[in-house]
């Protein structure tokens, strides 16, 4: 085997390459790798957090929806009750109104009838008196028989 000066040359080259790698290659690449690892780690953590948040939000939404539904049901229930109440109230009012109108009509009718009757009575009395005057004009004094006529009128 021939060991010779090449050995020295190779050793120098070896140390040069090691030095260069240590100074200008390894740190930069290793730093980049570590920085990226950190980024990925953070990204994963963030995505996990987001997933949890989403889960939470979903639960919240479901809860809210349930609440809203039950609230709506309660409102509808209330509205139904109210409706029934209003209808009943309105019906009662209408009934009483109609009764009132009816009573008023009847009263008016009654009054009209009374008036007409009184008028008729007067007219009949006058007619009777006129008739009787004409009949008995020749025979009797009207004034003398007035008490009988008044009696008649009263009976009508």
């Amino acid at each position: 085997m021939n060991i010779n000066a090449t050995l020295i040359g190779e050793s120098i080259a070896f140390f040069f390459f090691v030095f260069f790698t240590m100074k200008y290659v390894w740190p930069q690449i290793n730093n980049a790798i570590e920085a990226r690892q950190k980024q990925i780690e953070e990204g994963l953590a963030a995505s996990e957090q987001a997933e949890q948040d989403l889960e939470l939000a979903k639960k919240e939404a479901t809860k809210k929806l349930k609440e809203a539904k039950s609230e709506a049901a309660a409102i509808i229930e209330q509205a139904k009750k109210r409706e029934a109440l209003i209808i009943e109230e309105a019906a009662g009012k209408a009934r009483s109104e109609s009764e009132k109108i009816l009573a008023q009509g009847q009263a008016e009718l009654e009054a009209e009838r009374n008036r007409a009757r009184a008028e008729l009575r007067q007219q009949v009395a006058a007619l009777a008196v006129a008739g009787a005057e004409k009949i008995i004009a020749r025979s009797i004094d009207a004034k003398a028989q007035a008490d009988i006529l008044d009696q008649l009128v009263e009976e009508l």
Binding site: M1, N2, I3, N4, A5, T6, L7, I8, G9, E10, S11, A13, F14, F15, F16, F17, V18, F20, T21, M22, Y24, V25, W26, P27, Q28, I29, N30, N31, A32, I33, A35, R36, Q39
Partner: protein
């Protein structure tokens, strides 16, 4: 091309492929290959040096381009691949090395990527770049085909002991540095002589044992990688000598190296981390 050469024998073909391109300084100045046979230690394997530095630059520059543009946002595909490697190495280091160090992780990444790229040269068919080099050097096709080429280019740096020992000695230096930095010179020496038998009259034995154990680490580290890749390359070369049938065989052997090449890079990296972690721990 080996089968029908007149002067080309399998032996010289293999020899040619396992010879490094050499450079050295002689009395006549800068010389190459055969002129360097007497240069001894001060010979440089220029192919090993050139390919390993080129591949090292490919590694640091491509990773640097990612590091410069590294964003924390959505990464591109290349950035993703680089980050996967960085994370893989970082995890291996974290699992094995329990101290805190700014060096271990980038060191491991450098070792893994560099050794991997060096090993990857094994996949390039053994004659391609050698032949291309000879052609560029101006040799004729006849010269190359008959095995007379004088241009050498061994493209897999990890089949050169200088490469693997260069790496493992670098790791060894760091091991000593960490041991002394964390335990102090005294603590480091104490581990050499007061372990495993903590009785004064056996200190000499401990010292021999522990020194061998310590020195064996970088040697085994270097020889393991070298042995695996040298054997792999040798078999690739042998396959290349069997003529037309080399195609399916070469394919199978190359496919097998989908396993071997990254595995050897990984083993080298892991053992580096383990050794450094052993040296940083107090017993």
């Amino acid at each position: 091309m080996a089968a029908n050469g007149d002067t080309l024998t399998s032996q010289s073909y293999i020899q040619h492929h396992l010879t490094n391109a050499k450079a050295c300084f002689t009395d006549e100045g800068l010389s190459f290959n055969y002129a360097c046979s007497d240069a001894g230690f001060w010979t440089w394997h220029i192919d090993t040096l050139a390919w390993s530095i080129f591949l090292g630059l490919v590694f640091i520059l491509s990773f640097r381009s990612v590091a410069k543009k590294a964003t924390t946002g959505v990464p591109g595909k290349f950035q993703c691949a680089v980050e996967m490697l960085v994370e893989f190495v970082g995890k291996s280091v974290k699992d094995t090395y329990h101290g805190s160090s700014k060096l271990i992780a980038p060191l491991s990444l450098t070792i893994f990527m560099w050794v991997f790229l060096l090993n990857c040269m094994d996949w390039i068919p053994v004659d391609w770049i050698g032949t291309l080099s000879s052609l560029i050097a101006g040799e004729s096709w006849q010269t190359i085909e008959s095995g007379q080429s004088h241009v050498y280019n061994k493209i897999v740096p990890t089949t050169d002991l200088n490469m693997t020992f260069g790496l493992s000695f670098g790791v060894f230096a760091l091991m000593i540095y960490y041991a002394i930095k964390i335990k102090g010179v005294g603590g480091f020496l104490k581990e050499l002589y007061a372990h495993p038998f903590n009785t004064p009259w056996l200190y000499w034995f401990n010292l021999i044992l522990e020194t061998i154990a310590l020195v064996a680490k970088p040697i085994s580290l270097a020889l393991r990688l070298f042995g695996n890749l040298y054997a792999a390359e040798l078999i690739f070369i042998l396959i290349a000598t069997i003529g037309l049938y080399q195609l399916p065989v070469h394919f199978v052997w190359a496919a097998f190296h989908l396993l071997v090449i990254p595995l050897q890079a990984f083993i080298f990296m892991m053992l580096t981390i383990v050794y450094l972690s052993m040296m940083s721990e107090k017993h």
